[in-house]
Symmetry: C3
Subunit: 122 residues, 3 copies
């Protein structure tokens, strides 16, 4: 059982990327990361997003995944880690052959740490 | 590792049902779904619940699981997705041979989207 | 698929310990549990913690894990269950041969149930 626990934790944790890693590359030219906002909500409801994020709602991702850049690493987030949208997006991205992670802590965690966001205009 | 990630995501996501799917059948006669409130709290603490939910606290589920209907699909939820009660209930239901899911986003997500709830009388 | 779901739920749930189990031993002499606060934040930000917790930020755990007691069972928690810090700490502890769990519901759930906390002095 100990081995099953360790295997599960290792695979589960490998789905996530830490906000620090993303933050370190945020304002660099040629950052390897593209932050992907997969919230299924209009801008008026979302109000703001992680600075520089590309907004593709999870429901639209299957039809738009082929427009993405295989050179980049995608970092998907939803409102909180308590939803399944981040993992649904991640599954679509990984199955399509992209490098991708879910953002640890999601938008809630990012805002809780006062990390850079930007207002959305509707 | 990519295969292990995809396998984990597919199995993990298969535990959940989306609120839209549940909502679509909510007021239909003979809905295949029974929404199951598994919060371990008295009504006075719970205050409200998802409209039409059947309240069986997770701690009582082992002794009550045989009263459930094998024709239905059970959708369990707790306060938030951050607790383990929804998954504990799901495990009891699946092991007893029921069709069951955990509600994506839990009660917190349902309320956040202003979906139908009902007040509980004490 | 039913078997894969049940296997995943059983392993996933085996990572967690219920707050009641921890609470039952809280004020007993020779409690088998040591509650481990793994938040990566200074005391001024943390403000309070679970009563009697040992604070070792997850980032410091790899270098401090050898100071821990193999007779005890460690119960790690972060702010919420939505972060990955609790699981990162758990992986470090299990790989080092310690008995360890993540606290179901994390600090957020503990406080939500009004369980004992203590103020931190800065």
């Amino acid at each position: 059982m100990q081995t099953a626990k360790i295997d599960l934790l290792e695979t589960y944790l490998s789905l996530y990327i830490n906000h620090f890693e993303v933050l370190n590359h945020m304002d660099t030219k040629d950052s390897p990361y593209v932050i992907l906002d997969v919230r299924n909500a209009p801008s008026a409801v979302k109000k703001d997003q992680i600075k520089g994020a590309l907004a593709i709602p999870a429901k639209d991702l299957p039809s738009k995944v082929n427009e993405l850049n295989k050179e980049k690493t995608y970092v998907a987030y939803d409102w909180t880690s308590g939803t399944i949208l981040g993992k649904q997006a991640l599954l679509i991205l990984l199955k399509a052959g992209f490098k991708a992670y879910e953002l640890g802590g999601a938008l809630e965690g990012w805002k809780g740490m006062k990390l850079p966001i930007e207002t959305l205009n509707e």
